[in-house]
């Protein structure tokens, strides 16, 4: 007989899994294919959404980075002018005085040839040659002698012939053009013929893909900026950079290429972060499914685990067994998730790119870039969340007592006793989340962490609430449906450890839908209200054409007087918009003037300076938008520094105005002040205010007639037209959010279906007893559907308060910290009602199959099966 004294030591191998245990586990999973596959699908969907969003984000970022690198080349620094353009003479003077050997003037503009959007890159090819030897040295970059000769010829043609350009082979192939062909190029608002001087072979032209390379003279000509360049790219050492910066004339500024790239990348940071958070929500819901499935798998096998414990299986072995099962599900789910993620990502990248184009800057991403790190992150997160979700059930399995084999109801009793503690824990977690909000300052990441804590805390409280709800509605269901109704309500209470989980998973997903719905609804209403308040003119005339060297084109100065002279016109306002540099990065500058003397349509938040408008008109004050004020923690009375044509100028902030037009911030100055400081008398838009008795249609016709003959061409839009267009763009930018929301609901639906299937499977014996005692198939179907209805309605009702809290947090914390926008929460009753209906519908649909299956089952067989 073996001595027991060394028993504890002998349990060193407590986690070793005998083959029979692994076989039992494997067969359990294969014998419950619905449960297993629904769980795998849940994980796969979660992983797929995370990977798809990450791939789309990464592809967009990569597309942006590549285009910046392509255009900037190896330049380390750039000289830019506050006014947008640098004269040729200034460039020449700088080159000579500062002995800049590695410098080239640059013009960069969007160009469209056929169906392809490219970037026109104009360089001084001679000056740029030492900076980009691989691209332009001809023989140096060519694969063979023939190609080298071709490149040299192309270079000569680019320099010698006006209107010529060079394309990369990939672009030329896509366009179906070859060297020597003439193409129609759309630049700004005009179209002109250009000749393809050469097509660079793949080996040479890889760095040129997406670009149309031209000599600076051609670029100046086709963009209408004769005598001006947009910027100067340079390769400098730190010492040289310091020398050049000190010697720059007023209105010019030297910055590193990285600074400029970062400033642009910063613009879309919040957008990318929000998408990532939405995808994490889907993963969280996926984690719920796994938790639900594995908990059920443990509870269902509790007597079996008790038997195993009776035979000497250790707690460690049971723990390892459940974790191993979880890992297997996670691995399969993650693998399928990768495949689905790549497929979804391909569609998502188009939505991401379109949104960036709509609200930030022009970006062309032609294909999804398979970033291995994104895939690894998705897989790692999927497996991590799954294992985390499986940890609870694994510990539960390890807690199995040998006596559980005898007393099956013990588990449920213990679960019931735990509910108040679980709810108390949930309350604590919610409290922690709410506490984190003020403590986390302006951090977006901690804001999301607080939001997730509130979600997790609320879901911990839900089982207790569901039990109370089921208990409270038992008399009502009894009165309505008799004993079937009472059984349905009591069935939920009796199996609260499972039904509570299913309801919590569904409620969280529906709450996310409600919360995001409230956020979008509030945002939409605020934007609509803001547009109505801000767009104070009745008709707008604007030109979006390029005015050369990065400046927008201008409307004729006399147009304002012509418009004012039209019968029915009460006032005309004028505006000029451009990007400007501040000490805190780039922002939009809007210069306004009005024939009435003071612009209208502002809604201020916080204090405003005394004598606001007179001091603003005098150029002492600037108005800044909420996003800028929030991000830089500035308010009325603080200062803002702007880089003007006359160097850095400081303005006092007169007021902070509400603005949903740009999340990178807007500053507003009076037009005359702007015209002097930036040496730009141009006007890009005019607003026409009609007299109260004016015939809107006839004035609009007259304005259109005036605008028809303008060059560059200008578009005439009514106030209503602009609002409709703006709301269209708003809705388009939220398409991706809607898609992610739908995916989260999809994951939740899989979760509730999985939970219901598992519950019905477990209750098969109870149903068989009911059938054996005379319950008809129809009554059984009714019983199950009543039960799932009650669970769905409970989930919907619980989702309402949680959804409102989530919506509030999204608006007050996430939106504010991401974009700096404030807005009042507006709850459309339809959003809440549709949330409840969605939960109910999902539960009913998920309950259909289990109801049909249970009703079909032969009672004798179910009674026989243990």
């Amino acid at each position: 007989m073996v001595s027991l004294s060394g028993g504890t030591a002998a349990l060193v191998d407590a986690f070793r899994l005998p083959p029979a245990l692994i076989a039992a586990s494997r067969r359990y999973l294969t014998r419950h294919p619905w449960q297993t596959w629904l769980s795998i699908i849940g994980i796969a969907l979660g992983v797929a959404v995370v990977i798809a969003v990450d791939l789309a984000n990464e592809s967009a970022r990569r597309g942006f980075r590549l285009s910046v690198e392509q255009v900037a080349g190896p330049a380390t620094h750039q000289i830019q002018a506050a006014t947008g353009g640098i004269s040729d003479q200034t460039y020449v003077d700088l080159r000579i005085e500062q002995r800049l050997s590695l410098a080239t003037p640059v013009i960069e503009a969007p160009i469209r040839i056929g169906e392809r959007s490219l970037t026109l890159l104009g360089l001084d090819l001679i000056a740029a040659a030492p900076m980009r030897p691989g691209l332009l040295a001809g023989a140096g970059g060519a694969a063979d002698a023939e190609a080298a000769a071709g490149l040299a010829t192309a270079l000569v043609r680019l320099l010698g012939e006006s209107g010529t350009l060079v394309l990369a082979a990939a672009d030329a192939r896509a366009l179906g053009v070859a060297a020597g062909d003439t193409v129609q190029a759309e630049i700004g608002s005009g179209t002109r013929s250009m000749q393809v001087a050469a097509v660079l072979a793949d080996a040479d032209g890889r760095g040129l893909a997406g670009l149309a390379l031209a000599d600076i003279a051609t670029a100046q000509e086709v963009t209408g900026s004769i005598g001006q360049v947009e910027r100067i790219d340079l390769i400098l050492t730190d010492t040289e950079a310091a020398r050049v910066a000190a010697a720059l004339p007023t209105g010019l500024r030297l910055q590193t290429t990285a600074q400029r790239t970062n400033a642009l990348a910063q613009m879309t940071r919040a957008f990318h972060t929000n998408l990532t958070a939405m995808s994490l929500l889907a993963m969280l819901v996926g984690g719920f499914i796994v938790y639900n499935t594995m908990t059920f798998a443990v509870l269902q096998r509790r007597p079996l685990l008790g038997t195993l414990r009776m035979q000497g299986v250790t707690r460690g072995q049971l723990f390892a067994l459940v974790l191993l099962e979880t890992l297997l599900l996670a691995a399969i789910g993650a693998l399928l998730g990768v495949l689905a993620g790549i497929a979804v990502g391909a569609g998502l990248v188009q939505l991401v790119t379109r949104t960036i184009n709509d609200i930030y800057f022009q970006l062309s991403v032609r294909s999804l870039h398979l970033d291995w790190l994104s895939l690894a992150k998705g897989v790692g997160l999927g497996i991590g969340v799954t294992l985390l979700a499986g940890l609870g059930p694994a510990l539960e399995a390890a807690r199995s007592q040998p006596r559980d084999v005898i007393r099956r109801t013990l588990v449920e009793q213990r679960g019931q006793r735990l509910l108040p503690w679980l709810a108390a824990g949930g309350g604590l977690v919610i409290g922690l989340g709410l506490l984190l909000i003020p403590l986390s300052g302006r951090s977006m990441t901690w804001g999301f962490a607080a939001l997730f804590l509130v979600i997790v805390g609320a879901s911990l409280c839900m089982p207790l609430v569901v039990r109370l709800l089921a208990w409270a509605t038992t008399p009502l269901f009894g009165a309505l449906f008799g004993s079937v109704g009472r059984l349905a309500a009591r069935g939920i209470t009796a199996s609260i450890t499972r039904s509570g989980l299913a309801v919590a998973a569904l409620a969280v997903a529906v709450a996310a839908t409600v919360g995001v719905g409230i956020m979008i609804g509030s945002f939409r209403a605020s934007v609509s209200d803001w547009l109505a308040h801000t767009l104070t003119s009745d008709i707008y005339i604007a030109t979006d054409a390029e005015g050369g060297a990065g400046n927008p084109a201008s409307l004729p100065p006399a147009l304002a007087d012509e418009l004012l002279a039209l019968p029915g016109v009460a006032a005309v306002s004028q505006g000029r918009g451009r990007r400007v540099e501040t000490r805190d990065g780039q922002m939009t500058l809007l210069a306004l003037t009005s024939s009435t003397g003071r612009p209208r349509g502002f809604r201020f938040s916080g204090d405003t300076a005394d004598d606001l408008w007179p001091r603003w008109q005098a150029g002492e004050l600037a108005l800044v938008s909420e996003p800028y004020a929030y991000r830089q923690q500035k308010s009325a009375g603080d200062r803002i520094e702007l880089f003007t044509g006359a160097g850095w100028r400081t303005f006092e902030i007169g007021a902070v105005f509400q603005d949903y037009g740009s999340d990178s911030g807007t500053v507003i100055l009076p037009k005359p002040v702007y015209a002097v400081l930036w040496d730009d008398p141009g006007v890009s838009s005019m607003g026409v205010v009609l007299a109260s008795d004016a015939d809107a249609e006839s004035v609009e016709a007259r304005v259109e007639a005036l605008a028809a003959g303008l060059s560059p061409p200008a578009a005439v839009q009514t106030n209503r037209g602009i609002r409709e267009l703006s709301m269209d763009i708003f809705d388009r930018t939220f398409t991706i959010t809607e898609v992610l929301r739908l995916l989260a609901i999809g994951v939740a639906f899989v979760g509730i279906l999985s939970a219901l299937m598992a519950l019905e499977l477990e209750r098969a014996k109870d149903y068989a007893v009911l059938r054996a005692t005379g319950m008809t198939r129809g009554q059984l179907r009714l019983l199950i559907l009543l039960q799932t209805s009650l669970m769905g309605i409970a989930a919907g009702l619980l989702a309402m308060p949680l959804g409102v809290v989530m919506g509030d947090l999204l608006i007050q914390v996430i939106n504010l910290r991401s974009f700096g926008w404030t807005m009042p929460m507006q709850i459309a009753p339809g959003t809440l009602v549709s949330g409840v209906l969605l939960a109910w519908f999902a539960a009913i649909v998920a309950g259909l199959y289990p109801a049909l299956r249970a009703a079909r089952a032969a009672p004798a067989q179910a009674l026989r099966e243990e």
């Binding site: 028993g7 029979a20 195993l308 009776m310 000497g312």
Partner: protein, 235 residues
Amino acid sequence: MDDATVPALAVEGLGKSYAEGRARRVVLEDVAFKVAPGECIALLGRSGSGKSTLLNLLAGIDRPDTGDVRIAGQSVVTMGEPALTLLRRRHIGFIYQFFNLIPTLTVAENLALPLELNGVPAARRRERIAALLGKVGLDGREGAFPDQLSGGEQQRVAIARAIIHDPALVLADEPTGNLDAQTGHRVLELLSHLFRDEGHTLILVTHSREVSAIADRVFAVDGGRLTERTEALSW
């Protein structure tokens, strides 16, 4: 200590009570008996008499309020959870009323599990499984799953599983309680012969006089107390 002189099971002053509201219900009181190696003992009693509680205390899956249980000389009462697990794994076999076979394992795999847990090599496992299946009359059913067997067959597998690792003590809780009379009788016969042949110590909990008839000694459990029945018993 020499194994031959140590009782397979020794129970002294065992007491157990449960809280019922504010009162306590005494289930077992001052229970004491000894079982020699190879002996078969029946604990006979009506439902609710405390016999299942006694079985749980003997197996170490429940803790007594007073007294001690010693299996092969080792006190179960003072053992920690890991040691109890090892005790069950190596020295105790269980036979249940509802068989409790692992439904996802075949007959052979169900039998292999206790051996695998005890680290018995594969070749010896195969030999032992084949031998025991022959003894319980289930030759050729190695690959069958429990739900493919009749109740009597399942209980025969459960019996084989209980003794396959050669435990010091086998505890059987109403082993025929879930079988029809004829099948129950056959299982009982098998149990009796098998345990005599293999020399295992068996504690049998039952409410049936017929079942208790296979025991060497019979103890009646009534009102929480244990008394030995002295009337002659025939095999």
